[in-house]
Structure formats: C-alpha cells, structure tokens
C-alpha cells in the first residue's frame, strides 16, 4: 500500500503544492543566482509575460535586466524597448555589454500604441527580448500580449506602476521591486508558477548575489556597490 502510494507520488503528472513546479520549461538565467533559485524556470520565463511592478527610479530596477539584455547572441538578434520613461544612457549600456546599435528604442504615447508596438516586435521574430513600459492598460490588451508572446517564444518584460499590483494580470510571473536601502533592491514575488513565495529577496550591488543577512544597511557606506558603471 505504502509503496504504491510512493510510486504514485513520483508520477510525472502529479504536482505537489510544496514544490516549485518541475514541469516549467527552463527560462533564461537572470544573472542573479538568488533570483534564479526563486524562479520556477530558473530564469526569466520564455514565451511568457513577466511583470515588474515598481515605482522605483534610480534604485537599480533596470540593472536587474542588464545580464538578459547583454546576452551574447547572434548579431541579427535585436532587443527592443517600448516607451522607456527616460533616455537610455549609452555609456552605461555599453559598459554592461549591451549592443546599443541593436537596441531599438520606440517612443509611443498612448497605451494602445505601446501595446501595438510590442505586438509588432513579438510578431516580427527578430527580437530576442522585448521590454515595455505600460501604465494602466486594459486586461484584454494584456491578454493579447500574452498570446503574442507565447507564439514568439521570447521573454517579454513589462515595467508597470506599483499600484497595478492590486489588479489581476495574465502574466505568469509578477515581481514587485522596491528600494530597501542604497543599492539594495527588494524583490517580492507576487505571482509565479508553483508554490507561492513568501520570502522577499534582497539583491545587492553589482552582482546582486550576496544575500543580505541583516536588515540594517549603513547608508553612509562608500559605494562598494556599483550598480552599473
């Protein structure tokens, strides 16, 4: 009886709530070991929408994506940023290893135009990553993006204001980013495939690797943590 039950537990179609879902296909490593460990696919999900909910600006929220954007891929792969809130700094991007000539910046004002541009980018099949900044947007439009990204099979990352966390979204991964201390980014995983996460992650400084032992960070510390140089 017991052996039968145990063999049942090993059945591939059985999913235990305690597991981070094993059936999730592998994602693209985020470049931050701690974050990878907490994500179901050990990285940014491919062919799925990821939402980064944040009101940060200047807290390292964009540095989080630099390893993904800098990924050493073929020359013909493009990356596209739809409606970034400020001008991307070329020197910092180049220093992070991003090929800025293959980074298409699209300026679009209305939510409709932004969603349209993102969908075009997904459909074209030439982009390896699409990053978009969206404010309030209709759920139906988000669902369309979700369908488009599934076909495109690349990661789609959306930056959205924190207040959108209250609203439901078809994104499979939702991370809330906030500032913990200077150079320390707090990540709450609001939604992921598999077991819900109840521990926030703290990513720190350049590598974002060192787990933060104590909650107290001395503010006056010299910038040992160059976010992006």
């Amino acid at each position: 009886m017991t052996t039968q039950a145990f063999s049942l537990l090993r059945h591939p179609s059985l999913w235990r709530a305690g597991d981070v879902s094993p059936s999730v296909p592998n994602g693209i490593p985020t470049g931050h070991a701690m974050l990878d460990a907490a994500l179901p696919g050990r990285g940014w999900p491919i062919g799925e929408m990821t939402e980064l909910l944040t009101d940060c600006s200047g807290h390292g929220e964009l540095s989080l994506l630099m390893p993904l954007l800098a990924g050493a891929e073929a020359e013909s792969h493009w990356r596209i940023w739809v409606a970034p809130p400020h001008l991307p700094g070329v020197s910092a991007l180049a220093a992070a290893g991003v090929r800025t000539r293959q980074l298409i910046v699209v300026r679009a004002d209305t939510a409709g135009e932004r969603v349209w541009a993102i969908r075009q980018a997904l459909r074209s099949g030439v982009c390896s990553v699409v990053v978009g900044w969206l404010d309030r947007v209709d759920n139906a439009l988000l669902r369309r993006l979700q369908l488009a990204v599934r076909e495109a099979a690349i990661p789609l990352i959306l930056f959205r204001p924190l207040q959108q966390a209250r609203h439901a979204s078809p994104a499979v991964l939702r991370l809330q980013l906030s500032a913990r201390a200077a150079g320390v980014l707090r990540i709450d995983i609001l939604k992921r495939r598999g077991a819900p996460a109840n521990q926030p992650l703290y990513l720190q400084g350049a590598g974002f690797d060192a787990p933060l032992a104590t909650a107290v960070v001395r503010r006056a510390a010299p910038p040992a943590l160059a976010l992006i140089a």
């Binding site: 970034p84 001008l87 700094g89």
Partner: protein, 485 residues
C-alpha cells in the same frame, strides 16, 4: 513557335476600374454610346451600342465614364509587365496581349500550369483575360476572340481546320469589308479561305487574304516586342469616391501586385514608392512608402499602407489611386533557406528587422524609432546620438560611472543651505568628476554649448542613486542629469 493570345473582355471598362468590388452597374461610353459594360449593367438591361441617355433611363444608377485611350494604354503596359514574367516576348494589341511561350512552357510546368500562374498574377492586378493558343500570333488572337480556351497543336492541317470553324467577325479586318462578305452569304473563315485569290482581289479584299496567310503561317508576321520602361506609374479609378481604408487598401493592393509582378519580371526591386490618393477638390494626398531594403513584396507595401492610412486624416473621399515608383534596383532572386522558416538565415532576419522598423515608423512617425550610439564628446548630453538600428558595436564607455537613465534636459534642483535637495537632502556619495568641454560650441549667447560642471553621484533619502552636477561658475546651481536605475 507557339503563341498565347490574351484578350481582355470589355477592355475599356477593365482598364479603368480593374474588376472592382462594387454593386453599382458600370459602363464606359464612347461618343455617347455604351461600348463596354459589366455584368450588373447587362442584367439591368443595358446593351452595348445604346446611347448613354437611354442606358441611364434603363438603369438610373448606372455609372458611365467616357472611354479613356490613355488609361487603356497604360493599363495594357501594366498587364504586359505582368506577362513579362513568363516570357520576354510580349506583343501589345489593342485590347490584349500576345505571348511567345515556345521557350518557357516547360519551365513553368506545362501550358496549363503557366496559364494558371499567369491568370492569378493578372487577377491580383485586377485583370481578367480570355486566352487561346496557336502556332501563329494572328491565329491565336482570332481564336481567343471567338472561341477562347482553345489550344491548337503545331500542325498546318489542324490549324486550318480550327480557323475554318471561326465566324467571320473573329477576323480583325475592316468592318465594311466583312459586311460585304457577309452580304455575299459567307459566314465562316473557312468559306473565305476557299474563295479564289483573284476573286478576293477583285473585291478589294486582297488585304483579307494576307491576314489569312499570316494566320495560317504562310506569310511572315513580324511583331515588335514590348519592353518594360524602368518605372511604374499606374493609376486606378474607384467607381465611387471612397473614404474607408479597407476599400482603399483593396484597390492599392491591385496596384502593388501589378507593380511587384513587373518588378519580378525584370529582377528588380524598389526601395520606396509614392502612392497618391487623388481627391476631387483637393491636391492629392501622398503616401511615401519606404521599404528599408530593395524589395518587391506586395504584402509589405500593403502593411505599410495600412499603417499610413490608419494615421492619416483624408481631407476628402478618394476618387483614384496612383502608384509611382522610379529608381529600380537590381535585385537577384534568393534561395530558400535550407532549414525553412524555423531557422531563418541572417540575411532574412536582417530583412525582417528592417521591415519591423519601417512598420513601426509608418505608424508612430519616423523619428520615434531608433537605436543609440556613442559619440566622441565628453558632455553627457552630446555623448550619444540616435542612429539607424543595425549591426555594429558601440565603443566602451569612457570616463567615470554613468547612469542608465539620462534626462533629456538636466533638471534644476532646489538647494537648501547650499545643499542640493530633492524630497530631502541629497548625500554626495562620490565625485566630483569635472567635465569641462565644448567651449567651441556656441549656438548664440543664450545657450552656450560649453559645459563647466562637477558631477557627483548622490543618494536621496528614498535610497535612489542620482547623477547630479554643480555648475563650475557662479551661481553654482545644482542639476539632476541621470538616474542609476
């Protein structure tokens, strides 16, 4: 020698309207008499040869346009351009084409396959043709006029038999001459063939005998071949002026398809073209379609047009469309990718990338889609520029630590007790990094281009890392210039 004759039924009508999707009956009149009409008009009782006034009395919503020889000629050249894809030897007739297909039948997989391709090309451009095939051009044309669909083998006996069965009106000869023969009781071409030569000559019908000899292949029948001019200028009239982009796009598609088939025939592509939407009371609205790379892809042009039309406010309904494309660029054919669309080649990806950019630009505006590249300048606001996206690397960063977000314009910061302030005092973490450059750049007294600044990395009370600077010269104001995001 093998000739394929194409005859466009109701050519004056086709040349003007190109088989539009319409509900109103259409007709074309010459000297106030109906000379061509569509099926709707025919069903309502309009007949060729009727006066326009009579026709309008029968079908009140009939749309009658005067015959336009110029439009017919240009439409015929366009159709010939499509046909050039199947043979280099194309002859223009009044309302049709003659194609010498002896050399290309095999290449396109037999006569049936060739005809199928040719018809679909013509249909995409809005033309409908009847066809026949024969060993001589004149015989092919007569057959196409009288009994379309026939294909006569290369055999004198068979040719003579096929021609003998044709009615007299199939011969393209002087109408009075044909009337004379008809009055003598002759009904078919075969009966004319049996007449002795001198009998025909006595009735001033020697010319008729010459035509017959040419049709039978007993007398040379040289023809000048059509050569496509290296530019496209085609026009299409809408039966009724329309406003809705769907109808306009449908009509534009006809022009694009014709244009691209012509381009394919001469192995050329275009980089840009102009689509003019003509209005009755306003100057034409001009859409400039930029394709990015040389191309002859009608689908691509249609996509761009759709974006333009979505963005555009037309001053008035559109009565006609005109497509102009000069500057043909040689464009060789391309091999298919070995592993199919799953693993497209770099060249194809490059092209898809160009298409994406042009597509985005068509809707959002040309200056809103760009890539960035570094410039050799120390001033942060001039150290980068917008460039065309494309391959290539950016030089590594120079100088100190730079932020990921730059503000387009440095933002003046408040100061409190000589301390920069942004929702709280800003703590200077590192710096200063002095940037002193650009004294040579002066665009007027008001905004001198030179920068004398001390840059700092500062920490705000909400833990944001900012890139700020202090002016080197009095009044030593503080500015926010970037965010370490």
């Amino acid at each position: 020698m093998r000739w394929l004759a194409l005859v466009f039924p109701d050519w004056p009508l086709q040349a003007l309207f190109r088989n539009p999707s319409h509900t109103r009956p259409l007709a074309v009149a010459h000297r106030q008499r109906v000379c061509a009409l569509d099926a709707t008009a025919l069903a309502q009782g309009v007949r060729p040869g009727q006066g326009v006034a009579d026709a309008l009395a029968i079908a009140p919503d009939l749309l009658a346009r005067p015959k336009s020889p110029e439009a017919e000629r240009s439409a015929l050249r366009e159709a010939a351009g499509c046909a050039l894809r199947y043979t280099p030897r194309v002859v223009l007739e009044d309302d049709g084409l003659l194609l010498d297909i002896a050399g290309s039948t095999r290449l396109f997989g037999g006569l049936d396959a060739l005809l199928r391709h040719l018809r679909s090309d013509l249909a995409a451009a809005g033309f409908r043709a009847l066809s026949a095939c024969a060993p001589t051009p004149r015989a092919a044309r007569w057959l196409a006029r009288a009994t379309p669909g026939q294909c006569v083998a290369d055999d004198d006996q068979a040719l003579a038999e096929a021609l003998a069965a044709l009615p007299l009106r199939a011969m393209e000869a002087d109408a009075s001459l044909l009337a004379l023969l008809a009055d003598s009781g002759l009904r078919t071409v075969g009966e004319v063939m049996k007449l002795p030569r001198d009998a025909l000559a006595r009735r001033d019908a020697a010319g008729l005998r010459r035509l017959l000899d040419q049709a039978l292949g007993q007398r040379p029948d040289p023809r000048p071949f059509f050569e496509a001019p290296p530019q496209i200028d085609s026009r299409l009239e809408l039966p009724v002026p329309r406003h809705d982009s769907d109808v306009l796009l449908f009509a534009a598609n006809r022009l694009f398809n014709a244009c691209c088939t012509q381009l394919a025939a001469v192995h050329a592509g275009i980089e840009s073209c102009r689509l003019e939407l003509e209005h009755e009371h306003h100057p034409p609205t001009v859409l400039t379609l930029t394709l990015g790379t040389p191309s002859r892809d009608a689908h691509r042009m249609a996509l761009l047009t759709r974006e333009h039309l979505a963005r555009l406010a037309l001053p008035e309904a559109v009565g006609a469309l005109r497509l102009k494309a000069a500057h043909w660029i040689e464009l060789a054919g391309r091999s298919e990718d070995l592993f199919g669309p799953q693993a497209p080649s770099p060249a194809r990806r490059q092209e898809a990338g160009r298409l994406l950019i042009e597509h985005l630009r068509a809707r959002l505006g040309p200056d809103r889609v760009y890539a960035l590249s570094a410039c050799a300048d120390h001033r942060p606001e001039r150290s980068q520029q917008q460039v065309e996206p494309g391959p290539g690397t950016t030089a590594a960063a120079q100088g100190g630590r730079r932020p990921l977000w730059l503000l387009p314009e440095p933002r003046l910061l408040q100061t409190l007790r000589n301390q920069p302030w942004r929702g709280g005092p800003l703590e200077l973490v590192s710096g200063p990094e002095r940037i002193e450059s650009g004294w040579w750049d002066t665009d007027g007294e008001a905004s001198p281009g030179d920068a004398l600044r001390d840059y700092f990395v500062a920490l705000s009370t909400d833990h944001a890392q900012l890139w700020i600077y202090r002016e080197h010269l009095p009044p030593h104001r503080w500015y926010l210039h970037g965010l370490f995001a």
